[in-house]
């Protein structure tokens, strides 16, 4: 019996929650993200707003220019997290094999559930109805024999979509897609396609794995070869090979002060170390992301042998990355920090020969984390007390964990 994978995506999730909480917003263009007139980007927008060409990650000023009459709202992450939990709970009634990918996206392994829920198309319809009835939210479902194809299928008929790719038709399904729908092939790869005269997924599928490898590198070639034939290239394993965790902020005004950037790095290091610790991960790889005034964006990463033990170490290395990639110009619009290659903290730990001078710092941090975890408030560093990182806005709602800092009105 073939496998049945569902990919489920909540439609315009943040905006839909806002419309649900305030029915007057229904049918109106709603943009959740930064405040117009300030810095930052669109986090999510309703389908009504999408009609104006607004989309996620678009600078908020551009969204405002396209549709000044839209309702602009701040990100209320805790409310979305609550709704997300309710939706995920419904998903888990349909399959115990639930893999949540993000706040609004999950894979369900529905293999062998036919006797319970009927054929996949019926099960998907029942799932959609259950979510709609019990939360008021719309979802789009993609069904296929593997996660990769299911992921692409769910994106094709949004909102309220259901696309079923029948077993054996995966390659055919992929061939009919435009290259832009090939998930995992981003801007750079798309540019390379254009340079090489590759115009469709079918063109890709007609190439040998060897020639793809010579054009896109071994891993890239393999990925494109598998993906274009409708096979899972292996990016959606239950335990992703390389998970990462990051946070970033867009500044009110472009920043030229190293001190301001470093203060933000310290704040982000604290925040990320807390999340890492809470979720039971360790990491040996940190990266920073810089977006400059002209929107060029760079990331720089650093790997080491030993797992990071405390935020001060992360801060130190992040400052080193900043110093190596930015000499004070151009002005910085956005700064991000992240961990790559997350590993479970339960993995076999290698002992260290040389004692660490920062063992006390690490223990102090753990105590602070413990206080935060118990909901007894948040201790913070003296350096971050006064206004923290100087007017930086959380720009990516999906990544942050608190509410936006601006209020309605």
């Amino acid at each position: 019996m073939s496998r049945v994978a569902f990919h489920v995506d909540l439609d315009a999730f943040f905006a839909s929650v806002e419309q649900l909480d305030n029915p007057r917003l229904c049918g109106q263009p709603v943009v959740v993200g930064a405040a117009p007139g300030r810095r930052g980007v669109v986090s999510t927008c309703s389908y009504e707003a999408r009609a104006y060409g607004i989309h996620s990650a678009m600078p908020i000023a551009e969204a405002y220019r396209r549709c000044p009459e839209a309702v602009f709202l701040p990100v209320r992450m805790s409310r979305y997290a609550e709704m997300s939990e309710r939706v995920m709970a419904i998903f888990s009634e349909f399959s115990p094999e639930l893999c949540q990918v993000s706040i609004d996206e999950a894979f369900l392994d529905m293999s062998g559930t036919e006797r319970l829920f009927g054929p996949p198309a019926e099960a998907a319809a029942a799932l959609k109805a259950a979510v709609r009835a019990r939360t008021g939210l719309g979802i789009s479902v993609g069904v296929a024999t593997n996660r990769y194809v299911a992921k692409i299928a769910s994106g094709l008929k949004k909102p309220d979509g259901l696309v079923v790719v029948e077993p054996g038709r995966e390659a055919e399904f992929m061939r009919a897609l435009p290259l832009s729908k090939l998930w995992g092939a981003g801007g750079k790869t798309q540019e390379r396609f254009a340079e090489l005269g590759i115009r469709s997924v079918a063109d890709l599928a007609d190439m040998s794995e060897l020639s793809l490898a010579s054009l896109f590198g071994r891993a890239g070639g393999r990925f494109l070869y598998e993906a274009s034939h409708g096979r899972d290239p292996g990016i959606f394993r239950a335990e992703a090979e390389s998970r990462s965790m990051s946070a970033e902020r867009t500044f009110e005004r472009d920043v030229l002060s190293r001190e301001t950037l470093e203060s933000l790095l310290l704040e982000l290091a604290d925040e990320l170390c807390y999340r890492l610790w809470k979720e039971g991960y360790v990491s040996r790889c940190v990266f920073i992301k810089l977006r400059f005034e002209d929107f060029t964006t760079i990331t720089r990463r650093l790997s080491r042998d030993e797992c990071y033990r405390c935020a001060s170490e992360v801060f130190h290395d992040a400052c080193g990355l900043l110093a190596a990639s930015w000499d004070g110009r151009p002005a910085v619009r956005l700064l991000g920090l992240g961990f790559g290659g997350l590993e479970s903290a339960l993995n076999a730990r290698q002992g260290e020969l040389f004692a660490h001078g920062d063992e006390r710092k690490r223990r102090a941090e753990e105590a602070v984390f413990e206080i935060a975890r118990r909901g007894r408030g948040r201790l913070t560093r003296a350096r971050l007390v006064r206004g923290g990182a100087h007017g930086a806005e959380r720009s990516d709602g999906a990544d942050g964990s608190e509410e936006g800092r601006w209020r309605r009105g």
């Binding site: 080491r304 042998d305 030993e306 076999a348 730990r349 290698q350 002992g351 260290e352 040389f354």
Partner: protein, 367 residues
Amino acid sequence: MKFTCEKNAFAREISFAQEVIASKNALSIMSNVLLEAEEGTLVLKATDIKVSFETRIPVETAEPGAITVFCDKLSGILASIPEGDIEVTEDNGKVVVKPTFKKVRFQIKTIASEKFPELPAAAEDIFFSIPAKILKDMIEQVVFAVSEDETRYFMNGVYFERADDGLVMVATDGRRLAYIHKQINTELPRFKSVIIPPKVLSLVMKRAPDEGLIAIAVTEKNIFFRFGSYLVSSVLIEGQFPNYQKVIPEHQQSSIMVKRSELIEALKRVSIFIDQKSNRAFFNLSGGTLLLSSDESELGTAREELPCRYDGPDVRLALNHKYIEEPLKAIQEESVLIEFTEPSRAITLSPDPKGDFFHIVMPMQAD
């Protein structure tokens, strides 16, 4: 400039130069080898800025001169032509290489010799000589333990220091450490302890003969090795090497004696199932038996028993198998000793009977 020489002799030195250079960027002077034809001799120099190399070979010089040549292509040419004499001519910045017995002619890109950087030099009187065999034994015993983690640059090389009665080399990556102390019977000058990048050491290992002497000089920023007609040098790593003496256990409570080749073979078999991320192998000791095993994974598990000499209580050690295999390969003796005090503290690995070197390995969490 014009000289004639035997192809094989020339090719050997050019391939050494290419090993030093490593870069294949045709635009950089650092990708070029400097050729200086003097009366009866050709001087060759190459550098990657950090590691430098200089040698001379006998040639028949028709016209003295100097030029730098793109080394990658020169080495390709020499590899392709048969044995025999070749003629190298430089005229107006163009170098032509041709065998004297074949109608083939190569012309290669050059850069003026004045652009070639000045290589570091050491005063003759600070060189001291030790047997090549001793230096190569020392390097072999420690160099694999060097850290590749660039955030710990001060561990990216071999620590080299003068002891009262000889020389010491230490290398560590923070989890394991290799140490060797060789007595030297001749007088050694005082020099400050230094950290040597592994590249120059591997060149010495590969190129220096086992017989005879190697001359060494240590200056503020560089180290020099001279053997045969070669002078190789390297910039030193600046920084503070960790206080290694502190982590060497003075004495251990228990010891296991096991045949080196049996342990190597058993580890090789068990490692088929060892998790490649953690590299963790278990050493279970009970009476006269060492039971090696891998973690149990969904893929399977491996166990192998081998006899050993151990009379302590039953115990289980968790160790990165690579940290055991690498020193085992560098050790020549038939038997080895693994000494420990408790499963969470550093173990000592040494030959049996003990010699002038040992390896310290920090264990992994056992559960």
